[in-house]
């Protein structure tokens, strides 16, 4: 090693760490604020470290902050989000896998056009669909329910999941399918015994993506939920927002971090697989 490359390496680490600090800054602000007392926030610098630690805001955010007349913190709403996100992620991933499988391996005339149409659907701004969707959900009897929310998230998730799986499966040689067909295997049989076993990386990608989108969604949550089915983002918004009342920033920040914990956890735990899945899927697609 020459001294030149050593300097380069130090520079490299320097830059990487600098960026890491940039990425961590907002989380730092949120974390420190959530550990301060309101008095300290009102008087001190917002970016400073807390003078005295308090965990009261966290307890309050989880179990006693008011989100409307119900003062039970985020806890009751967490479950709603789980009930909504888990089935929605599963269904949209399954549908996406099957769609992707067809688009990659069972092409028919017009399939590409249809695929393009699905992809374009990814780009529709959600504000546009709110009102007609409300009407449709009403007609289907799903308005204000968790199944209604699941339905909406599945519909608008299909685009991305289909894209992921199609790009992944398209790398698999078509001869494989042809050979299997000669052996008498059908559509589902081939999917089940050839494609599914190798799909873990791309399933990870699809699940992470969908889970993040659905868990963090606010717009659909606020429009299509009813009393008792509001997801955690709506509750968070209710805790954080006060039009004419005193704001408890420490509780707000604690609540914000709590609401984000599941997605954070998913990224921290599954982040490695995420990159692996992308490696396997996206390049050759």
């Amino acid at each position: 090693m020459t001294s030149n490359t050593t300097i380069l390496r130090w520079g490299l680490y320097g830059i990487l760490i600098l960026f890491a600090l940039f990425y961590l800054l907002p989380l730092f602000v949120m974390l420190t604020t959530s550990l301060k007392s309101l008095e300290e926030i009102r008087t001190g610098s917002l970016l400073a470290l807390p003078r005295g630690l308090t965990f009261q805001p966290w307890i309050e955010a989880w179990s006693s902050a008011c989100a409307g007349t119900q003062c039970e913190g985020l806890r009751p709403f967490f479950w709603n989000s789980v009930l909504m996100a888990v089935p929605a992620v599963m269904i949209s991933t399954i549908v996406g896998a099957l769609n992707g499988y067809v688009f990659a391996q069972w092409r028919f005339p017009g399939a590409n056009l249809f695929f393009a149409a699905i992809l374009f659907g990814c780009f529709i701004p959600f504000q546009v669909v709110l009102m007609p969707m409300a009407r449709m959900l009403g007609l289907m009897g799903l308005a204000g329910t968790i199944p209604g929310l699941i339905f909406v998230h599945v519909i608008y998730g299909i685009g991305f999941t289909t894209l992921f799986f199609r790009n992944y499966y398209v790398t698999i040689p078509q001869e494989l399918v042809r050979a299997a067909k000669v052996d008498g295997a059908g559509f589902f049989r081939i999917f089940w015994s050839i494609f599914l076993p190798i799909s873990l990386p791309i399933i990870t990608v699809s699940v992470i993506w969908q889970f993040t989108q659905i868990w963090n969604d606010f717009l659909f949550g606020v429009s299509f939920s009813g009393p008792g089915s509001q997801p955690v983002t709506v509750a968070l918004n209710n805790i954080v927002n006060s039009t004419t009342g005193v704001k408890a920033y420490n509780v707000d920040m604690a609540a914000a971090i709590i609401a984000a914990l599941p997605t954070l956890l998913v990224y921290v735990v599954a982040g490695k697989y995420f990159i692996r899945g992308l490696t396997a899927g996206s390049v050759k697609g």
Binding site: T33, V102, F123, I124, F187, T263, V266, L278
Partner: protein, 290 residues
């Protein structure tokens, strides 16, 4: 039975087909219809010509919103790609603690901006955040006040958006770098080609599909950028950081001016169409030859 066997693939797609037809294209058609009416608080269906579009184009606020979309979209996509690519290449140099760094770069994507908006607002506010902190260290003339300057505020939106998405782009590129055939790289190294050349001449060109994937994810985020603006500036100072999505939302839901909102949505959709369709075309065309 044989018919069934032959048509299974189509039957599998059928539900998605129907769903997309109704819930995407049907709704776009609905919006187009409403944009030609005088709908106020709630949709009305008596056609009334192109008045909403005339009003839209006469609105100075809409001009600002469209301009912002171009500035924001272009900067956001380019900077995110550059930072993402740079971090990916750097991380690819057998860095210690790569896992930790990667997670740190990636985590912003996991947070919704309802969550981080307030923190960003404080950080960027000159009286509370970075400017105040640096001045506190003794650099009295340090200024970072973009958030409060109408002509600069849109760039703070870019910063926060880049913060959120660039880690994700990094992941895409890192995945791309990892899957380049190592044989070729080794051969190049044996031939004594410098690392810089290996990247610029061999590795990056093979990653063209990744650039396209990154582009589609970023473009999708740019067009849907909404939470970000609401949380960070709520369109201010004045309406200097308005984007089409926030304009549309304001018209539809805070002002009860639904026809106007629909008209703005249609224009937005046309912009999306103009950007996305060429991409889809180039992405899907080669496979038709197979």
């Amino acid at each position: 039975m044989e018919w069934l066997e032959r048509n299974v693939p189509k039957l599998v797609l059928a539900p998605s087909f129907v769903a997309i037809l109704i819930f995407v294209y049907g709704f776009i058609a609905w919006t187009a219809w409403v944009s030609l009416t005088r709908s106020k608080l709630m949709p009305r269906y008596e056609l009334d010509g192109f008045g909403q579009y005339t009003r839209l184009f006469a609105s100075p606020r809409w001009d600002v919103a469209m301009n912002n979309l171009y500035i924001f979209g272009a900067l956001f996509i380019i900077i995110s790609m550059l930072i993402g690519l740079m971090l990916a290449i750097f991380l690819d140099q057998k860095i210690r603690a790569e896992g930790v760094l990667r997670t740190i770069y990636l985590y912003p994507m996991a947070l919704s901006l309802i969550v981080t908006g307030t923190a960003w607002k404080w950080i960027l506010n000159p009286g509370l955040g970075i400017q105040e902190m640096v001045r506190g260290w003794g650099f009295e003339s340090f200024a970072f006040d973009w958030l409060i300057r109408p002509e600069m505020a849109i760039y703070t939106i870019v910063i926060a958006a880049v913060w959120q998405a660039s880690g994700f782009v990094m992941a895409l590129f890192l995945a791309g770098l990892r899957s380049v055939d190592t044989e070729i790289i080794r051969a190049a190294q044996v031939d004594g080609i410098p690392t810089r050349r290996i990247y610029s001449a061999i590795i990056i060109p093979t990653m063209a599909p990744i650039f396209l994937s990154a582009f589609i994810v970023l473009a999708h985020l740019a067009i849907k950028a909404f939470d970000l603006v609401i949380a960070l500036t709520n369109g201010g100072p004045g309406y200097a950081t308005d984007l089409p999505a926030t304009y549309m939302y304001a018209m539809a839901f805070s002002r009860g001016d639904l026809g106007q909102a629909a008209a703005s949505a249609m224009i937005m959709m046309m912009v999306i169409f103009a950007i996305v369709v060429p991409y889809l075309y180039s992405e899907l065309r080669p496979r038709r030859d197979q």
